[in-house]
Every structure is written in C-alpha cells, then in structure tokens.
C-alpha cells in the first residue's frame, strides 16, 4: 500500500517536473523573443490547472497516507497554486496574461517561480524515491 502511494506520487512528481521544465523553457523562449507573448501565455495557461491538480493530488495522497512531513512540505505549494489562480483579475486571460507579462518584471518573477518549483519537485522526487524504496524493502 505504502509503496503504491509513493509510486503514484513519483509518477505525479515526474509529470510536475516535466511541467516545470516546460514552463521554464517556454518562458525563456519568450525572454529570448522566439515566441510571442500571446502564444506563450496561451500555452502556459493551458497547463496551469493540470499543474494545480497534480500538486493537489500529491498533497492529498500524502495526507491520506498520513505522511505528515511530506504533506506539510507540499501544502504551501499547493495552496500557492490555488491562490494564484483564484486571484486572477476578471479582466485577465489567466495566470499568464500576454498584456501584462512584459510589465513590471512579471516575466522574471514567473521565471523565478518556475525555477523554484522545479527545484522543489526535484527534491520531492528524491524523497518519494527514497520512501518508495524504503517501503518496497519493508514490504
């Protein structure tokens, strides 16, 4: 059971890592002017909700399997994801708004956020991996 939870988390985490890398790549494409803001934002906005779901899934999994430490580790990230979707102004086209992304250093802060998430997911990846192996051994 425990092993199954961590295997699932691991898969989930891999997906989140890929997503984070995708975000970073797309944002840096925008930074380098390879794609335009409209295309970039519509690409990214499409993945905001899946990312949120993936992160929430991992959090819930940890909660139901009563791994408090990992749960608490995941909780802030999950709530941040929800908060940022929730606070999008009505007139904006999503978390990433093509008309705003070049203003007030938003591009940079999005970039920073994605990098931090990437680091976080990598950390989680190893935690899950370790826990999974541990669980498999224990079984």
């Amino acid at each position: 059971m425990e092993a199954a939870v961590f295997i699932l988390s691991l898969v989930d985490c891999c997906a989140l890592i890929f997503l984070a890398v995708y975000f970073v790549i797309t944002l840096s494409d925008l930074e380098c002017d390879y794609i335009n803001a409209r295309a970039c934002c519509s690409k990214l906005n499409r993945w905001v909700v899946p990312e949120l779901v993936g992160q929430a899934l991992a959090t819930v999994l940890m909660l139901v399997s009563l791994h408090w430490f990992v749960f608490l580790l995941n909780l802030p990230v999950a709530s941040w994801n929800m908060y940022r979707v929730w606070k999008v102004p009505m007139g904006n086209m999503g978390v990433f708004d093509p008309t705003e992304i070049h203003n007030r250093g938003q591009l940079k802060s999005h970039m920073k956020e994605s990098m931090i998430k990437l680091g976080f997911h990598l950390l989680c990846f190893f935690i899950y991996l370790y826990s999974m192996i541990l669980a498999l051994i224990n079984d």
Partner: protein
C-alpha cells in the same frame, strides 16, 4: 516580426539635394579631417556655421545650469564663438554665399533661445498639423519682436517663418522651384520630405535648412533654425520659429543668400557645408559652462530679455517668475500671496538670502558653482514657483556637438537627463527612470532617406545613428551594443555631397530623427491599403443623442481627405440588437442593407462587397451617409450588441487589417461582451476606495489581441450619458493600439458645446496622418532594460510593441531599469524605431535616437531631473497601481515619490542642512505637480467623480503625449482682461499676446478681471463680477456682467483690438493641440463654475489639502 525589422533600402533619391550640397560637403570634409576620432560625426553635423555660433553662446547659460560632470575641460566657452564664425567664413571659400553670414541673425536669435534649452534639438518642432506654432515661448516672442521687427522689413522671410514651419517651406519652395525641378518634387511630397533632402546635411537642422533651402528656403531657413531651438525648449516646437524675427542682421544676409541660391544650388550648398565644418572647432568651445557672459556682447539687449522671460530656469528669468519672496514682491505687487507662506517664521531661511540674491545678479550662471538646476529652493518660503512661460525640459550635459543633434525633447524625453551609473544609485535618488515618446508626432521637417542599404548593427540590429563612432572609414562601432561593424560599400558614398569616403556625413549619421523608406521586397506581405470600417450604434438611445448626423456629415465632408490612395477601402456596420451590414458593391443603384440577427454566431453575409474601394464606390457611400441618419429615426430597439458587432468588424478586416471606428452610446447588453452596470452613483464621493477600475471581462482584451494579430486597430468613441463601463470597453482600444474618445452627456440639443467638440475632434480624427501595420522597437544601450510599458499597444516581445495603427497623437512611456552597471560609459543611447505602412502604401521606418550622459553622483542626477517627464511617468505608474492594487495605494505612492526624492536630496546632496522644505530648482514644481495629480480626476477622492470620467482620465494619462498630459494635470491660468501686445508672439502675421501664467489659486482671481484657464481639453473663461466693462463690451460684446449667458461657448468676432487679441490668444492655444478644446465662458452662477474651481489645485477643498498644507505634510515626512 523580426522579418519586418530587417529591411534594405534601395532607392537613391538624394540626387536633387545632393547637387547643392556637393561643394558644401567638400569643405566640410576637410575640416573633419582635422578632427580625429568619433567626435567627428557630431561635429560635422553641428556646425551649421556662424549661426550656430550664436546659438552656442546662448547655451552657455544652460550648461551652467546643468551639472557639468565631465569637467570644464570639455567645454570651451568664450573662444568658441569667435572661432567658429571665422572658420565658417573661411570654409565658405569663395562662396558668394554670403547667405551664411545672414545666419548671423540667427545667432542673435539663438542667444535668447539658447538660454533656455539647447539648440541641439534638431527635430523640427513644428507639427504637420496646423498648430505648429507652439505657444511655448511666450516670452521669446516679445523679445523677438523687438529685435526682429526692424529687421523684419528687410527680410520678409523672417517674419514668415515663425508662423508655420511647414507652410513656409511649402511657400518658399515655389520660389526656389525655379532653379530646380527637383525642388518641386519635394514640395509635392510632404513638407517633411523636402526638408529631408536639404537636411541631409542638416544634421543640425538649421544648417540643412539654410543650405538646401538655399534659394527657396531663404525664408524657411531662417525660420527653421529659429524654430528648432525654440522648439526644443518649448513643448510645442513649432511656433517658436516665429520668434525668429529678431535676426535683423540675418535678414539681409538671407536675402543675399537667396539670390545666389536661385542661380545655383551648389553655391548655396557650400555655405551650409561651411557651417557644418565650423562646428568642429566649436564643439568643444561651446560647452563652456558659463557662456552667458559672452552672449550679451553679441546681442545684449535681446538676450537678456529673452533669457528672463523664456527660460524660467535661468536665474534672471527665475527672478521674475518665481523669484524669492523678496524679489517677487518687489517686482510684482500682486505677490501678496507670498505672505501666507512666509508666515511660519521658523521656516524662513536666513541663508536663503544668498541664493536669492544670485539670481538678481545679472548673473547668469557665473554666480555660483552649483548649477542652476541644483539651486536650493525653500518651497515653504518661495511661493511663486511657476515660470513665466512654459516649463522647459533640462538639457542633457552632453558635449555641444552631440547635444545639437540629439533627439528633440518633444519626441523623446527622459525623466533623468543624466543616467545614473548603477541601479543602486538610481534607487538612492528615488526618482523614476523612464522615457516618454511621441514617435509619430507630426513634424514639419523630417529627413527621409531612400537607400539601397539600411545600415544596422549586425548583432543588435540598431540603425546607424549620429551617436555611433567611426573607428576608421571602414568600421563603425555600435553605440548600443558596442559591436564593431563594417561600413558597407554603398554607405561610403554620400549621395548628398556626391562624394566618396565619408560615411560620417551621410544623413543617417547626421540626424537623430529620420525616416527610411523600405522597399517592398522586404515586407512580410504587400503593404496594406488604408482600410476604414465605421461601426455605428443605432439603438434607440444612440439615435436619441443625434450623433449619427454629426458622424455622417463629418464623413461626407472629409471623405476626400481621408488618408489613403487609390486602394483605400471603406465599409459600414450598424448594430442594435442585430448587426446590419451594407453592401456597397459597384453597380448597385443604392446601398443594400443586410441584417444578421444571429448574434451568437456572427458571419459575413457577402464577404466581398462589404468593404469597397472608396474611389470606385464613392457615390454609393455618399448615398448611404446621407440616408443613414434617417434610416433609424424611429427605431424602438433599445438593446445593443456591441460584442458581436466588434466580432463582425474583426472578421471583415482580418484579411487586410485597418482601422475600426466604433461609436457607442450605452452599456452593451446583448451577446458576447455584454456588461452590467458596476457603478453605484451614491458611492461616488463617499467610497473609501474606488472599485471596478479593472475590466469586468476578458472578452474585449482577447478580441483586441486577435485584432492586433491581424493588424486591426479599434478606436472607440463613447458618447453616453450613463455609465458605460469604459474600464472594460476601453480594453478593445488599449490593446489594439487604438484610441478612446469620450464625450460624457453627449446630446444634440442639450449639449451643443459637446457637439461642437465632437465635430472638430472627428474632423481631426478622420484627416490626421495614420500609419498601418506598425511595430515599434525600443532599444537601449547594453546594461539598460525596459521594465514596464505604458500606452495603447500590445507588447509582443521584450522590446517590441505591436501597433496595428499608429497616429500622431499617441504617446508612449517606458520605465527603465539598470541591469548592469554602466561603469566606463560616457553616455548611453536609446533608439525607437517605428516601422509602419503609410496611407499611401509605402513601408517606412522612422528612427529616433537619443543620447544621454552617464553620471555617478547623486547631485548630477538631481540636476538632470526633468520634473514634467517625471510627473507624467509617475502618473502612468499610478494608473497601473490603481488598477492592480487600489487607488489609495496609488495616491500614497505618488505622495511618497515626492517625499522620498526630496528626502534623498536633503540627505545626500545638501551639504548644509537648513530648515524648511528644500528642493533643487529643477524639482521645485514636483510637489505642486504631485498635488495636482492627487486632485486630478483620475486620482481624486472625496469628490463625486463618475467612474467613466475617472477611467477616461486614466486612459489619457497613459497614452497622451507629455505636453497635453501636463495641461491636464496642471492647467494654465492667464489673466486676459488686460492683454497687451507687449511681449507678444508674432506668428504668421498675427500678434499673439502672451500673458503670464498665474498660480492656480482663487486668490489669484480678482473680481475685476477675466481669467482664462487652459486645461488641455477644455478652456474656461471666468468673468469676475466687477469685470472691467470695457472687456465685456469689447471682447464679449455684452453690455454688463449680468448679461453674460450661462452657456456661452464662443467669443464674438468683434472688430476691436481687445477682441482680436483675446481671440488670437485663444486661437493660438487651440492650435497647439490636435484636438479642439471647447471654450466655456463662465461666471459665478454658471454650473461649470465648480469644475473650474476644481482645477484650482493650490487651494484647499473639503477632501484635499491645499498646496501649503501639502508642503507641510511633505516637510514633516522629509525631516523624519
């Protein structure tokens, strides 16, 4: 997009001009040879000749003001003048072109001007638009007249120039035409072009004029130089030229010059060339910080006058206007106002004495070591801070040669004319760093280059510009990325002079503002035709306002004046709860209306015939326009489906791109994009914070981005009496680079003033220049980057703005940040390149380049602060802040901006701590402007302000050019019951009185006077209860005060001197802006009195501080 930016220019058209220039250019070369190094370029450009010399002298004072970071060594003061003239003359070798000497008069002229700003601006101030005559230099005008009048007789041209630069050119050209067929061609083209030709050499615009103009320009040349300098200073460059009259001496020479020119352009050209050469020697000299001294000798009388009047910043001028209390009282009995401020004894600065005295000294800059801009002003003590005339932008402390060719401040302006070396230094100064642009401004002269190769940096794609360095003849170093590039073979040949091997003389390297013509081979698609689509609201509410008549009438009248060529297309859509299309295909006997009632899924009924060629189907179009107002006369349909109508418009234009003009009168209520009223009128005044400043839906934004992608711009005309949710609707224009026009309470019968205003604006809107499928890229030197953009456009990538349409009335602002330290750099450059398709189907690139010095001390940063630019940038930032955060946040931020910068000045720059609220002279108006912003419609609280009014004011703050925004923020108040011709401006044979600007305080109003308040989009004429009966009868044509009607919107045309003066003044104010400000004559009982009094920003209101209280508040915070 990138593809667009890479263009090659193939055509060579200079030949015409080149002829005259040749000889001239040659001489120039020689001189250049003497000068080694990069400086050559600038030099060549600058040295117009003797004329310049004069200019320089005047400048000195200016320089003095500025901090001279580089050190005195750079600038030679005295010697400079003498030298240049000599050199120029010499250069002239053999040239009969004594004309040059005529320039001499210019010199005289210049001095006054010089005092104010730099001559440097080469950009022609004049706008293409009629109003070119800028009001800016009120003071100048008088001076000019004095000087000029006598001379005027001799050189008629002189008189002419002032009036309209553009017009002059045109007129003059004919005379010239005789010699050259080519000249005729030029004329045909926009005035600009013609300039361009000559200008080639004109790096210094002045030179260009004289030279090329040779024959024809005689008149113009004179004007041109004048205009330039004044223009630079003045917000509205255009007018200043008029001042020119002064140059009596020049006048004669001019005349001389002309004759020679007529015979042979060549001869003429040489003269200019000489001028150009001369500069080399000058450049260094000119910079002398304290030229003031020398100036007087040349033209003693006029200069002093000018100085004081025109340039408030100068010590003498300052005295008059804002003089310290003592001086002020002395000079102006009126001054009692000072007393209130002075009362707080503690604040009085004993020490202030010296500072105040200094100005009194004839002073000029000699007085003290600190530049005028840094002169310490105790705001609590000095009440009268407003300059007599317009507030002039500071001059960057660049070597004179560079400054002379620098971009005109009306086009390109920086909040800090000295760029801090590091971000931390910038943070310390607490001033925003940013640029304000007006890139598509109507210019009276603009060099146009058609060339086989457009030379650009290979790594950063910067266009070659006057601020690059030529390492040798074959290599140039980019001033933005510092890459060394090869000079292409074609560039070695100078078509202007027909000489080889002097790339630094090419027009591209001589002009900071110029236009390239891009050949069609390099376009992504063939240039689009001009396409106009009119979308009209015809619901019951709309018909009721009666706007359809006005729109159709205006279109009928101006249908031939719409910019375009034989391919121009036009189409119409009307909508209420359904969408109506009009089939105007050729061959139909009358327009055919097609109704689409399925607004959920909009389709085009006959895709081919809805947009028709205007020339082929003009009759049908006219038929439609004539019948349209009646067609819906009895409609009872109250719903309005704006969203679907916009979708239909987008579909119709997506194949070609173009302009959609939407006329809307109510909240859209049907289909996609329907909105609900979000405003609670009862909360207007009481609400703690203003809600609903951001859009309610992203529909309009998405559609705008779709439009932007298809090169469609949407202009929105909102004519409504109720809430329309401009915050949501405005997005459609904001992101598609359109513009928004709002006429609150528009009604044909009930609001005749609004109707007149709408009519005039519509005329301007329909006939003004337009650029299609445009993009603008703003590049800046390595180390700087753009942080935030303000204006109407879509930012497509980090420095690329997508502008489906660009119009001459659009302004832009960007905030910059310093990413890498600018150590080791003397200067940084900014380049804005606007690529657009003209209405004639020509692909053009307009390039503006500005160069600014880098400094490493806080005091230098403060000395270079441009208070107007800072205010405008802060206003834009505050608009963003109120939308993303809240209005109160934005208000706090603005107040803090003034507190922080003054604190920083006090702690870091001032060595001696004095009591009081101390500000550098260049920022003395900063707290006043901030207070004005807090009381501006956009940001005020506590006063009942309709949400739409507020949002519209915010839109305007963001996309209007600086000059208009400043009037919106801080209106100008004049006393007009005692207008005299003294000090008047002479513009195109009209005498424009120049009353001085009064403080915006009720205490300045006197019951026995009449006051004119110019608030940008509206002008109020307030009549005092005991107003001079003479004024009432002679100007208003009314027997007494009681007879003043409550709604009076025009001045009767009476044949009295007073009436003529007043009308000339009002007319002149109106000419300075593209749109028509309505005049309201008001008296105490008038309903509009409230809005008049709301502009009295120095006074206390129920909810806002008075200026003095505000200062006390700031002082408290500063001394914490």
């Amino acid at each position: 997009m990138l593809g667009l930016w890479v263009f090659v220019f193939t055509v060579e058209t200079f030949s015409n001009q080149s002829v005259p220039l040749c000889s001239h250019s040659v001489s120039v070369k020689e001189q250049h040879a003497l000068n080694p190094g990069p400086s050559q370029n600038p030099v060549a450009l600058q040295p117009p000749g003797p004329g310049y010399m004069a200019h320089q002298t005047p400048y000195n004072p200016m320089q003095a003001k500025g901090p001279m970071p580089p050190g005195p060594g750079l600038y030679n003061s005295g010697p400079y003048q003498p030298v240049p003239p000599v050199s120029s003359n010499q250069a002239l070798p053999g040239q009969p072109m004594l004309k040059r000497p005529p320039m001499g008069p210019q010199h005289s002229m210049t001095p006054p001007q010089s005092a104010s700003p730099n001559p440097g601006s080469r950009i022609p101030p004049a706008h293409a638009t009629p109003p070119p005559v800028s009001a800016n230099n009120y003071q100048h005008a008088p001076a000019w007249q004095y000087g000029g009048t006598p001379p005027m007789g001799a050189p008629p041209p002189m008189a002419m120039p002032p009036l309209r630069p553009a017009g002059n050119h045109m007129t003059s050209s004919p005379s010239l035409a005789t010699p050259q067929a080519s000249s005729a061609e030029y004329r045909a083209t926009p005035p600009v072009f013609h300039n361009a030709m000559q200008p080639l050499c004109p790096p210094t615009s002045l030179q260009g004029y004289t030279q090329q103009g040779s024959a024809p320009l005689l008149m113009n040349p004179m004007a041109a130089p004048h205009s330039y300098q004044p223009g630079m200073r003045a917000p509205y460059g255009g007018p200043p030229p008029s001042v020119r009259p002064t140059p009596p001496t020049t006048g004669p020479p001019m005349g001389n010059a002309t004759p020679p020119l007529g015979p042979k352009t060549d001869g003429h050209m040489p003269t200019p060339g000489n001028g150009a050469q001369v500069p080399n020697s000058f450049d260094h000299l000119e910079m002398g910080p304290k030229m003031a001294g020398p100036l007087p000798p040349q033209q003693p009388s006029p200069p002093t006058r000018h100085m004081g009047l025109s340039y408030p910043s100068l010590p003498p001028g300052y005295q008059n206007t804002s003089a310290p209390p003592n001086a002020a009282t002395m000079q102006h009995p009126v001054q009692p106002s000072t007393q209130p401020y002075s009362h707080p004894q503690p604040y009085q600065q004993p020490s202030a004495g010296p500072a105040q005295l200094s100005p009194s000294l004839s002073g000029l800059s000699l007085q003290s070591q600190t530049p005028e801009a840094l002169r310490v002003v105790n705001l609590l003590q000095e009440r009268n801070l407003l300059p007599l005339g317009p507030v002039t932008p500071p001059t960057p402390c660049l070597p004179q040669d560079l400054q002379k060719i620098n971009c005109h401040p009306e086009v390109f302006r920086s909040t800090l004319t000295s760029i801090p070396q590091t971000q931390s230094l910038l943070n310390k100064a607490k001033l925003p760093l940013g640029l304000l642009l007006h890139p598509f401004k109507d210019l009276s002269q603009l060099p146009v280059v058609t060339s086989s190769t457009i030379v650009r940096c290979r790594s950063c794609r910067t266009y070659i510009n006057p601020f690059v360095t030529f390492l040798d003849q074959r290599r140039w170093k980019c001033n933005l990325c510092y890459r060394v590039n090869d000079v292409p073979e074609e560039f070695m040949y100078n078509p202007v002079s027909r000489s080889y091997g002097e790339p630094h003389k090419r027009p591209e390297v001589q002009n900071a503002t110029l236009e390239f013509i891009a050949p069609s081979e390099y376009m992504l698609r063939p240039p689009q035709p001009a396409v106009y689509l009119i979308v009209l609201d015809v619901s019951h509410n709309a018909v009721e306002t009666g706007y359809l008549d006005v729109v159709c009438q205006s279109l009928l009248e101006n249908i031939n004046a719409l910019p375009g060529d034989s391919r121009t297309k036009i189409g119409f859509i009307t909508f209420d709860s359904t969408i109506h299309f009009y089939n105007l295909q050729e061959g139909l006997s009358q327009p055919q209306m097609l109704i689409v009632s399925d607004i959920e899924d909009i389709f085009l009924p006959t895709p081919d015939s809805l947009l028709v060629n205007l020339n082929e189907c003009k009759e049908l179009v006219q038929d439609l326009l004539r019948s349209l107002p009646q067609m819906f006369g009895k409609t009872m349909e109250t719903q309005c489906a704006l969203g679907p109508a916009l979708q239909a418009a987008f579909k119709l234009l997506s194949a070609t791109g173009g302009r959609v003009s939407v006329f809307q009168t109510q909240l859209p209520s049907l289909g996609v994009g329907a909105l609900k009223s979000r405003e609670d009128p009862n909360q207007r005044a009481s609400a703690k914070d203003i809600q609903h400043l951001s859009p309610a839906t992203d529909f309009y934004k998405k559609l705008a981005l779709d439009c932007s992608g298809q090169q469609v711009a949407v202009d929105l005309f909102l004519l409504s009496s109720q809430y329309c949710d401009l915050a949501s609707l405005g997005c459609i224009s904001r992101y598609s680079a359109g513009s928004v026009y709002y006429y609150p309470s528009y009604h044909q019968q009930h609001n005749p003033a609004g109707v007149e205003c709408f009519q005039k604006d519509l005329k301007r809107y329909l006939t003004r220049k337009i650029g299609f499928e445009a993009v603008m890229r703003i590049r800046c030197s390595k180390g700087l980057s753009i942080h935030t953009f303000h204006g109407n456009f879509f930012v497509r990538s980090t420095d690329l703005l997508s502008l489906p349409n660009v119009n001459p009335d659009a302004g832009f602002a960007v905030q910059m940040s310093i990413e890498e330290n600018l150590v080791d750099m003397q200067s940084v450059s900014f380049q804005a390149a606007l690529l657009y398709t003209s209405s004639k189907g020509e692909r053009r690139i307009r390039v503006h380049t500005m160069c600014l010095p880098v400094v490493n001390s806080l005091s230098d940063i403060f000395a270079g602060a441009d208070v107007q630019a800072i205010t405008c940038l802060l206003a834009s930032m505050a608009v963003d802040r109120s939308v993303t955060a809240s209005l109160s946040d934005a208000r706090d931020a603005m107040t803090n901006a003034s507190i922080d910068s003054l604190t920083s000045f006090r702690t870091s720059v001032l060595t001696i701590q004095q009591p009081g609220l101390l500000a550098p002279a260049c920022l003395r108006l900063f707290p006043l402007y901030i207070l004005a912003l807090l009381k501006q419609k956009a940001f005020r609280t506590g006063t009942s302000t309709r949400l739409d009014d507020r949002v519209y004011a915010m839109c305007q703050l963001k996309y209007q050019p600086l000059a208009y925004v400043m009037l919106m923020i801080h209106p100008a108040l004049y006393r007009v019951d005692d207008l005299t011709d003294e000090g008047a401006l002479n513009v195109s044979e009209r005498t424009i009185p120049q009353p001085r600007v009064q403080q915006l305080s009720v205490e300045k109003l006197s019951r026995d006077g009449a006051f004119l308040m110019d608030a940008g989009s509206v002008i109020y004429l307030w009549i005092g209860r005991n107003c001079n009966p003479n004024f009432l009868t002679q100007v208003l044509g009314l027997p007494n005060y009681a007879a003043v009607p409550l709604n009076m919107n025009m001045l009767p045309e009476l044949d009295t001197a007073e009436s003529q003066r007043t009308r000339a003044f009002v007319g002149w104010l109106r000419e300075q802006r593209p749109f028509f400000p309505i005049l309201h004559v008001i008296r105490d009982e008038s309903p509009l009195k409230a809005s008049f009094l709301q502009n009295m920003i120095e006074d206390r209101t129920e909810s806002a501080l008075s200026y003095y209280e505000f200062l006390l508040h700031i002082q408290q915070q500063v001394s914490k």
